[in-house]
Subunit: 327 residues, 6 copies
């Protein structure tokens, strides 16, 4: 029988389910009594849980990253759904159905990896194809690349999120490129493949999602350039001939400029056709994804509008309003 | 025999050709002598011409918008090509080959108009299809829509430029929409069709390209909303039933928000999936077009870099450099 | 006997009074118990109320917009006054003294409407006078225009607020215009009349104040242009002659540019004398009104300073300090 | 017989007139020949003049600030009117009609000074009246205050310009204050009087208009505070009692905050009702004055639009267009 | 026996200690019960305390600024340490060890004052030395200058903080000046001495730290210029000869421009070598001080990163991380 | 006999001297005649030269980067000094005194290299000392590092400029570090050494100063990280033990964050004490250097003010004014 997922919870539901636990804390309330706070997640998202009058025993009964069974009730508190837990018990990972905790089921990840290979191996440019091959056959790389999230919060923040974002962007790039005769399709597609790969080491995602120290201090743009330099050496060894310097420069440039503006952390602005196109398409993908997510997860179920989003500086229109009051 | 076009001129060529003349002025130089300055254009672009020691007779021998035959020599002056004219004589419009002055030859315009109809009539949404039909059968509208430029300067600034930009954007929108399940393809495509239509009255383009007073004071975003309101009434009469209020609101919203940011003159920020997608794709199309144009028209022929573009805040890389000096 | 108004409440007063109720919510506290939260207002302002240990029966006993009698006690909580209710009972609207709930008593609204007519009918320009007449005799328009607030929050956010703001601005415009010979007084006064009229449909204000979907998606600037276009047609029919195109353009321009800067949602910057004057005077009126309101409503009664206002980026000086500590 | 003024010059007029000369320079042209460039002004404005093939003798025949008789011809060069001089001879200041060189004729200055006294002496607040009196009876102050320009360029840049700006602003303040019950009219009027007075020493204007070193390094806001401190001491001595510390603080605050925003050089933002009103009204006066000036002086006589003004980021609409091309 | 200081508190310590009390408030909680909130400080910093179920008697038993003995327990609440007090009793100031409440012990203040005198009296420039002497011998000035904090919050916010910041900046200035031949060392050092002196009256710091009305309305930049003007008069009287006007201008300029940018409240940008150097060094000192403080006081003791600081727009790296997750 | 240097030229001097020639162009004037334009430089700076009525023969007689003897006359044209050449003849490089073309004479470069070694080898931290050694013994690196300019224009734009800037910054860092106990002096000094080293390949400077393609597309921040990674490997091999990961991270972080703000091209903001100090000191050095240069090279010799500098948004005060006009 199928489980009920976090994203489906309404107000005041009774819950008895297995979750992955993270960010556990034992905290005093204003009156000095201790309660346990912990994030519970399944593949659909996460929910904040509190267990009143908790004690050290409960706190120590599981670690962050462990699976736990939780009994309790949901409630909408200050615009967000939370769970008041009455019981929390650890669960052996072996008893857990992995699919329930992976937003992208293994078969979907497999499909994306396969599609990634198809697109890359289908390129006409021999240098780029060889370079891509060096990534595709690198097991450590592929393993991390297909497990990494695309971000710590919001933007594809789940295992496989990076892969999903990248392959979708490559699809979009493939479709759009023929509309602009000056765009080198293979270069654009390779740029889409490589632009965010620094995230495989910028983020940590074995148990919980966070920035590594290196990620925070250096950033995935600079880290990806180092990674590319190593792969270029491999590719040149493999091919027995150098990749043209200019082609490598163009790839590096796409990586360091793909945030498009200095204030978004790009040390260089896009200066080639493919770099500007990559920035615009990456932005499109991020914006549309974020709009979809905001609308889907908005807790004001009855309203045609989402709540105000401070990052966007606006509410979003989900639709279903009456047009106007006079209507 | 094919003519040599303005965009093909090099330094110090001898010229004897027919052009369209605009912006003629009789001006004194620093020493008080008069010279004639005039813009000369063919379908490939325009060039500034000067005729030294000109007099009132030459100045009055033609009007702005007329065709003239010009003899003279080209020269590169302060980074721009100009033409030193020794003789300017008016030419009867009937003797002119129209194709030489229309960047989009009639057959190309016809193809674009046809493609526009195909895409719009191929939509599944009956309301949007009826609405689109009301535009397609409006001869004044279609005539202006297929003649208007997309801008006064730079961006598709030639007859048919608006049509070319819009149809290309509709193609891109059609290709990208399926990659995002939440996007209503027909709504996005209709938005792409309507977003810039206010330009048919914001600009004047019978003889030279300029803003109308209304265009300057009110702007094409607001003007397009008025135009849409009139067409909605027609469509409802035609269909015998109202178009849902919400659908019209969504179209209007796409129009007023398609510049995407307040500082670009949008009175509203995009708040629907289709509005944010339209803004991102319109931006992609404008940026890629502008990069292509800058690289193609850059006069520093020998250099891998264009000149510094103040609007972009950067030079662009045309390619062909050696990678780096050490290389 | 006169009632005690919300704006007069101090800390820990006992209350037994009739209010208009809005934004009612049944919410759980951290311990999972339900309480009722509701906004209570009279003509002087509104106060947030909470009723502990509330249940569904109380929640359903009245609707948003209804009048209710509330018993309870005030208290200052986190810098804001709130009311802890012990009893809430619905009250029949017929038993309520309307004047207690209308910031502008009927007689004041009548005075403002009369003054509006005087100023508009006193204009020398026949076209503008005829146009104004078409608004003045439009009952639906005048009814909404004299009931609409000027905003959802803060700025004249009460029934009649729009009318009060507009008439005051027209007075100021009339007084200032003669100081500048180039200003066309009638044009400026008409612009002051029309600039915000789109708010009659941008906002809903029958029961609670909010944006309509159209208002949120399109905005009152664009909506006012549509409304003006319809009235111009009426005026031309009434007068039997067209209003000069330029005059209409100037009015439209004042409407779309009156926020003065792109980042405030104007799609055009002021480009005429009257448009720049309207923007500056509208800004003056808004700023002075906001300063007065902040100082009057500031809860730090004993201090010469208001609390820090994040929108303004500053505290305001109410006065009565000692000058300086050494003083 | 009345002279023809600089502001009235058209293209290619013959000129033989007396001007005040400033900014003379002997400069080589590109071919190494020397020419004399000099600014010529009368009360209506100034015009740039060039004398070709000039020599040291002409250059030394007059000093900046002297009167000279100039013969020559006008011409429109790169959008600005200039004068090609054929003869320049010095003129004795005694032979010059002073009225022709003073934008504000003596009688107008007298009227403004009288009006200034009326307004200030008509205030009800005894402290402010006494303080104002100390300025009014200070001959050096009044002499400089009625001769100073309001700026070096553009904004009231002529002798008496400061006085004209200030008295007009005081009139506007007097008219507007009664519309806002919280505004202390006398405080606002005194603030309008004092806000720019630092300019009497920030600028030098005996011969040509420029910033003094102190003006450039310290600025008129800070300088005015020092000046006010000295006058407050005088006023307290005169009155035999202190002016309330808070009143002086409010005046100083109006001075240091009257540019309204940090980026315009105000070290403090307006925090009182009168300070915010002063900023808004000063801005109104400056903007309307600047718009009037741009429209009046625009050399594109035949066009409904001024040239593009980079400071404003727009063209201005002078009017007389046809509405739109289709009209 | 040495006391345990606030900055040393960990989670759930038992406390019985004397503090200085400020900002006491009697407040209702959500259930309407009163509690006492009060800030408690010693020389190392301050901690927020709450006493549940407090009454008027406790509230009135001490004044802000008094010393009190507090018993209770610490707890980490929402990322900040707080103290739940069970008992609060007033303490006579005479029984208190002053050193425990002064971040800079008297001996350190003496050392700094002595060092200040050494540096100033060691200058070669006789005018600046005389001017400095006038400050050094002014007891009221020196007393306030050595007691004032450098800010109300964060930045050297303790008695003597201004002195500590200024003397350190003078040290840095002395060391750096020789590296740049164009810098006038004595001028830079005097500027460092004077730049913030307006704070002695901008802030009040007898009992609690706050802005004076004058400080808030006028600001320490403008106030320091007035103070300097008075001292210059004294110095000229003392020396029997004027200080060169230009030297005084340069000092005033350093004061009004030392925030370096308009948006930080400087009415003038630095325009001399010493002014730009002073701005850069003052900024260095403030930034490094703030970084040190953030790292030292960060409550996330176990983490290599501080919490996110909204003012800085970033977290800070305290160190001790493992480099990256892969290690 | 000592030559007269470019920086010493006044108006209308006669010149007969050897220069290095760059940026030669053959250009038409408005009348279509050709002239030669070329930049001429010696160690003190450069001057723009024009030779009228030039022909192809002259143009081809030398290459950019060659030495030429030029005869002609100086003149001040539009605020800049230029040279009207009457004769240009190539000169053999062997006949040229190298010292006249090197702002830093060989002996000064030697002194700076020596000082660089002293500081680096004097560090206490063994890892940083070993790492530094790997740079010091790398001949290619040291050769380029001591020849590279620090910029293409303005900022130390001459051979050895990078070395001079870096060593001066290291001196300043050494002096300032002890004033802040939390700063790790050796880390700061090493960061100062490495921060700009990417410029050795970002710029080309064999003949004329320019950006390499790699420099323009990737930038010296990212390039320096790659370079550092290679040297770390060498150092670890040399030392036979790894440099702690965190130490390398801190160095990389200082490099990528040293522009201090996103808008200046840093992909990361400073997050360590040493990184923020490096940014502030680098900024100090650049600002003071730029102020010194602007004042020294300003052509308005008679004025106490430099011309307006658009980058700085201000004029600079050179001094020697009279204080104020009244003075």
């Amino acid at each position: 029988m199928s489980r009920r997922y976090v994203a489906q919870y309404g107000h005041q539901e009774s819950v008895n389910e297995v979750f992955r636990a993270t960010e556990k804390q034992l905290r005093p309330n204003r009156n000095g009594n201790l309660y346990l706070q912990v994030e519970l997640s399944d593949r659909s998202g996460s929910i904040s849980a509190r267990m009143w009058n908790a004690n050290d025993a409960v706190y120590k009964s599981f670690d962050n990253g462990d699976f736990v069974r939780v009994e309790g009730n949901t409630q909408l508190f200050q615009g967000a759904m939370q769970l008041i837990a009455t019981r929390i018990t650890p669960v052996d990972a072996k008893e857990v159905n992995d699919e329930e905790f992976t937003p992208l089921p293994a078969v979907e990840v497999d499909r994306l990896v396969k599609r990634l290979g198809e697109i890359l191996r289908g390129m006409a440019d021999p240098h780029l194809r060889t370079l891509a091959e060096c990534f595709l056959v690198d097991d450590r790389f592929m393993s991390r690349f297909s497990r990494a999230p695309a971000g710590v919060k919001h933007h594809h923040a789940y295992h496989g999120g990076l892969l999903e974002h990248v392959v979708n962007l490559m699809e979009v790039a493939s479709r759009v490129a023929p509309c602009y005769p000056q765009i080198d399709r293979d270069l654009l597609v390779t740029g889409a493949f490589l632009h965010d790969m620094g995230k495989i080491d910028e983020l940590s995602y074995d148990r919980e999602f966070a920035y590594t120290d290196e990620g925070q201090l250096i950033g995935h743009l600079v880290m990806a350039v180092s990674l590319l330099e190593r792969k270029v050496q491999e590719a040149e060894k493999l091919a027995g001939e150098p990749i043209p310097v200019e082609k490598v420069l163009r790839l590096k440039h796409m990586i360091v400029s793909h945030h498009g503006r200095y204030e978004f952390g790009s040390p260089k602005l896009p200066m080639t056709i493919e770099a500007i196109a990559l920035y615009c398409l990456d932005n499109l993908d991020a914006q549309v994804f974020f709009f979809q997510q905001q609308m889907r997860d908005d807790p004001n179920v009855g309203s045609p509008w989402t709540g105000y989003n401070a990052n966007l500086g606006r509410k979003l229109y989900k639709g279903g309003g009456e047009g106007n009051e006079e209507g």
